[in-house]
C-alpha cells in the first residue's frame, strides 16, 4: 500500500464521505488514490472556497469537514479558510501535499513553509516526512479537530511520503499526553453556579457558538428555569428565535432589548461564548452589575476578557442538565415583564418604499422558507440584517463567519452546508461586494446542482464600510462605491449555467423567491436594494452596549430617551 492509499483508507475509516479540494503537483499521488476511493470529491475553483466548504460542512452537520490542496500556492490559498474555521471553532481536517522531503527547505518549486504559516491559525498541525507516521498522525488529526473545543487541523504530507510503500497496521493509538479536554463540569462549581443563578433577580443567559451542539440542553434549561436568553451571532439557532424568552442578538448590532438586558441584569450565565468585543462593546461598561457564571469547554476562554465569578469548565451537554437539575423555575416574573416591554417598544423597524429594503427582502425570504432552511451569509450589512430578520430556529442552520468576518465565506459555505444536509434548501444571503470574493464557485454549484438560493442584497456599495464612513468619518466615502462596475449578476449566473434574475420591486421579489424555493436547484436572485441603509441600533466601536445609537430604530411616537444603565 502507498502512503496515499493510507491517507484514503484512514479518511474512509473516519467516516469521511466528501472532500473539497483542488489538485496540483505535490498532491497528485493522493488524487491518484482518490480515483479508486468511494469518497466523493468536490472540485472547487479556489482552495479558499474548499476550506470554507469543509468548515460549513462541519457547522451544518457536526461531521468533520475535509479539504485537500497542493503545496505552495494551493496551501497558502487555504489560509483564510483555516483562520475562519479557527476563530469560529469549526472542525476541519486540511490535507496538503508538500515537496519531497529531500527538497524541503531549499526553496523548491511550489514550496512554502505551510507548517510554519498555518501553526497560528490551526488548533494543531503536522508535517509528515515518514510514511510510518501517517496512521497515527491522521488519527490524531481527527481526534484533535473534533474533541474538546473543535478546530481546524492541517496535515502537510511530503510527496515522497505519499509515494512510499507502507507496511503495517492502519490502527493507531492516539498518543497525546498533553491533550485531555475537560468534559465533565466540576460538581462544586456546578453547585456554586446554581447558587448564583438562584440568588439573581435579573438573570440573563448568553448563548454562543459552543451551544450549536447543545441546543436541546439549552432549550430544556431555559424552559425549566424561565431564564431570558440572548443568542450571539454564532449562537443563532441554538435557542429558537421565536421563543417568548428570546431577546435576539446582543452587541454591536444587537437588539435594544438584548443590550439593555446586559446593562440591567444582575447575573450573566454565559454558555459556550467568549465575550468577543463585538458582543461586549467596551468591557468596563459591560454588565456592570452582573455576577458572571461562565461555562465553556476551553479553560483559556474563562476570565480572558470578562472576569468570571463562577467558572465552570466542561461540555454544555454535561453541565447544563446538571445545573438545571439544581434549579427549578426562577422567580423572574418582573424581569421578564420589563424585557417584554422593551421588546414591544423596540420591534425591528425599517422604512419601505419604491426601492426594496434589505430588511424587507429578508422578511420575504424568511416567510417563504417557512422557518425551514439553512442560511449562510457573507459579511457586511446584509449579514447583520440576516442575523436580525432571518435567524433560523434550528441549530447548525445559521452559518456565518463571526470571528474572522470573512467576505467570500457565504457562497462556498452554502455549497458545503448543502452537501452536509442533502435535500434541504440553503439560502445564501450575500452582499454585492462579498459575493465577488469567491464568485468562481458558481461553477462548483452548477456542477452539483444543489438547492441553493443566492440572494444578493445589492446596494451597489461596500455598505458596512460606507455606514462607518457616514457615521464616523464625516461622510467621506472613500472607495466603497461598487455600482458603476458591478457585473450584471443575473447574466453572470447565466454564464455559469445558473438561473439568475434581477429583482427591483416587491411584487417581483415575492414571485421570484417563491419560484426559487420551489426550484430545488441553484438560483441567483439579485435584489437591488436601497443604497444608503444603515444597520441600527449600533454600538459604536469602543463604546459601551448602553451607548447604542438607535437611529431609525427609535420608536417614532416616543420621545428620544437615552439608554441608561441600571
Amino acid at each position: 500500500m502507498t502512503g496515499s492509499e493510507v491517507v484514503m483508507r484512514l479518511l474512509e475509516r473516519h467516516g469521511v464521505e466528501v472532500v473539497f479540494g483542488h489538485p496540483g503537483g505535490a498532491i497528485m499521488p493522493i488524487y491518484d488514490a482518490l480515483y479508486d476511493s468511494p469518497i466523493r470529491h468536490v472540485l472547487v475553483r479556489h482552495e479558499q472556497a474548499g476550506a470554507h466548504m469543509a468548515d460549513a460542512y462541519y457547522r451544518a452537520s457536526g461531521k468533520v469537514g475535509v479539504c485537500f490542496a497542493t503545496s505552495g500556492p494551493g496551501a497558502t490559498n487555504l489560509v483564510t479558510g483555516l483562520a475562519t474555521a479557527m476563530l469560529d471553532s469549526s472542525a476541519v481536517v486540511a490535507i496538503t501535499g508538500n515537496v519531497p522531503s529531500g527538497l524541503i527547505g531549499t526553496d523548491a518549486f511550489q514550496e512554502a513553509d505551510v507548517y510554519g504559516i498555518t501553526g497560528p491559525i490551526t488548533k494543531h498541525n503536522f508535517l509528515v516526512k515518514d510514511v510510518r507516521e501517517l496512521p497515527r498522525v491522521l488519527t490524531e488529526a481527527f481526534h484533535i479537530a473534533t474533541t474538546g473545543r473543535p478546530g481546524p487541523v492541517l496535515v502537510d504530507i511530503t510527496k515522497d511520503v505519499q509515494q512510499a510503500t507502507f507496511e503495517g497496521s492502519l490502527e493507531a493509538e492516539v498518543d497525546l499526553p498533553g491533550y485531555k479536554p475537560t468534559l465533565v463540569g466540576h460538581a462544586g462549581q456546578v453547585k456554586r453556579a446554581a447558587e448564583a443563578v438562584r440568588a439573581a433577580e435579573r438573570p440573563l443567559m448568553i448563548v454562543g457558538g459552543g451551544a450549536q451542539c447543545a441546543a436541546d440542553e439549552v432549550v430544556a434549561f431555559a424552559e425549566r428555569t424561565g431564564i431570558p436568553v440572548t443568542t450571539t451571532l454564532m449562537g443563532i439557532g441554538a435557542f429558537p428565535a421565536g421563543s417568548e424568552q428570546a431577546l435576539g442578538m446582543p452587541g454591536m448590532h444587537g437588539t435594544v432589548t438584548a443590550n439593555r438586558a446586559i446593562s440591567h441584569c444582575d447575573l450573566i450565565l454565559a454558555a459556550g461564548m467568549r465575550f468577543d468585543d463585538r458582543v461586549t462593546g467596551k468591557i468596563s461598561r459591560f454588565a456592570p452589575n452582573a455576577t458572571v457564571v461562565h461555562i465553556d469547554i476551553d479553560p483559556a476562554e474563562i476570565s480572558k476578557l470578562v472576569r468570571a465569578h463562577v467558572p465552570v469548565v466542561g461540555d454544555l451537554r454535561d453541565v447544563l442538565p446538571r445545573l438545571g437539575a439544581e434549579l427549578g423555575r426562577l422567580d423572574v416574573g418582573p424581569w421578564r415583564e420589563q424585557l417584554a416591554a422593551w421588546k414591544a417598544r423596540y420591534p425591528e423597524r425599517y422604512e419601505t418604499g419604491e426601492t426594496l429594503a434589505s430588511q424587507e427582502v429578508l422578511e420575504l425570504l424568511r416567510q417563504a422558507s417557512g422557518g425551514d432552511c439553512i442560511v449562510t451569509t457573507e459579511v457586511g450589512q446584509h449579514q447583520m440584517f440576516a442575523a436580525r430578520l432571518f435567524p433560523t430556529s434550528r441549530p447548525r442552520s445559521f452559518v456565518t463567519s463571526g470571528g474572522l468576518g470573512t467576505m467570500g465565506f457565504g457562497l462556498p459555505a452554502a455549497i458545503g452546508a448543502a452537501m452536509a444536509r442533502p435535500g434541504e434548501t440553503v439560502v445564501c444571503v450575500a452582499g454585492d461586494g462579498s459575493v465577488q470574493m469567491n464568485v468562481q464557485e458558481l461553477a462548483t454549484l452548477y456542477k452539483l446542482q444543489l438547492p441553493v438560493v443566492i440572494a444578493i442584497l445589492n446596494n451597489g456599495m461596500l455598505g458596512m464600510v460606507r455606514q462607518w464612513q457616514e457615521l464616523f468619518h464625516a461622510q467621506r466615502y472613500s472607495e466603497v462605491y461598487l455600482a458603476d462596475s458591478n457585473p450584471d449578476f443575473a447574466k453572470l449566473a447565466e454564464a455559469y449555467g445558473i438561473e439568475g434574475h434581477n429583482v427591483f420591486d416587491r411584487a417581483d421579489a415575492e414571485a421570484r423567491i417563491a419560484e426559487a424555493f420551489a426550484a430545488k436547484k441553484p438560483v441567483l436572485l439579485n435584489f437591488f436594494v436601497y443604497e444608503a441603509e444603515k444597520v441600527f441600533p449600533m454600538v459604536p466601536a469602543g463604546a459601551g452596549v448602553d451607548e447604542m445609537i438607535l437611529g431609525d430604530q427609535e420608536a417614532p411616537e416616543a420621545p428620544r430617551e437615552p439608554v441608561v444603565s441600571a
Binding site: Y115, G116, G119, P120, K123, H124, L127, I144, L176, P177, G178, Y179, K180, P181, T182, G185, H186, G188, Q189, D298, P299, A300, I302, S303, K304, R307, A308, H309, V310, P311, V312, V313, G314
Partner: protein, 179 residues
C-alpha cells in the same frame, strides 16, 4: 506586574519552540528568559520561562500554553517551593598582576570557577540564583567585562513528584484562581 518562573514540559516535536515563541509574540506576553533542554523522560524537554505580567496575564499565559497540544504540563514555581539556578560564563579584563589577585579573590568569595586564563583576561563560570549572578556581574564591572553569556533560569520544584506528569488544566486551578 510580577515575575513568574514557569516550567513547561513539552514533547520533542519539530517546531514546538516556534509554537511557544509565536504564542508569546502573538498575544503580547513578555519573555525575560527562556531555556530548553531534554528532561529525564525520553522524548520530552523541559523549558523554563521567566515571564512578567499581572496575575490575569500570567493566568492567560498558562492557559494558552496548556492549549498547545505539544505542551504536557505547565508549573508556576512562583508560589511553590522550588529551586532555580542560572549558569553564566563571563570574561573579565585583567590589566595588572594586582588586579588579577583582586579579581580572583572576589571570584573565590562567589565560588566562581576559572575556566580559562590568558594574560589579559580571565573567564569564570558561575552558577547560582539570579541575585548571585547579578551581584557578581556588578563586582566585575569596574575591571571591565569583555563579554558574558547567561543561560537564563532553570527551575525544579522541591516536591517529590515530577512535573512531567500529564497534568492538563482541570477545574481545580481555574477555580482556585478565579474565586
Amino acid at each position: 506586574m510580577s515575575r513568574h518562573v514557569l516550567s513547561v514540559t513539552v514533547r520533542d516535536q519539530p517546531g514546538v519552540l516556534v509554537r511557544i515563541a509565536g504564542l508569546f509574540a502573538r498575544r503580547g506576553f513578555n519573555i525575560e528568559s527562556l531555556s530548553v533542554a531534554q528532561s529525564e523522560v525520553p522524548g520530552q524537554s523541559r523549558t523554563t520561562f521567566v515571564v512578567s505580567g499581572d496575575d490575569p496575564t500570567i493566568e492567560q499565559v498558562e492557559k494558552q500554553l496548556n492549549k498547545l497540544i505539544d505542551v504536557i504540563s505547565v508549573v508556576d514555581h512562583t508560589h511553590a517551593a522550588a529551586v532555580d539556578r542560572e549558569l553564566m560564563l563571563i570574561k573579565v579584563r585583567v590589566r595588572s598582576p594586582e588586579e588579577r589577585v583582586e579579581i580572583r579573590q572576589i571570584a573565590q568569595d562567589f565560588r566562581a570557577r576559572i575556566v580559562d586564563v590568558s594574560r589579559s583576561a580571565l573567564i569564570f563560570e558561575l552558577t547560582g540564583d539570579e541575585g548571585k549572578v547579578d551581584a557578581f556581574i556588578e563586582q566585575m564591572r569596574p575591571f571591565g567585562i569583555t563579554e558574558l553569556i547567561r543561560t537564563g533560569r532553570v527551575a525544579l520544584s522541591r516536591t517529590a513528584a515530577s512535573t512531567n506528569r500529564a497534568s492538563h488544566p482541570t477545574q481545580a486551578p481555574a477555580v482556585a484562581r478565579a474565586s
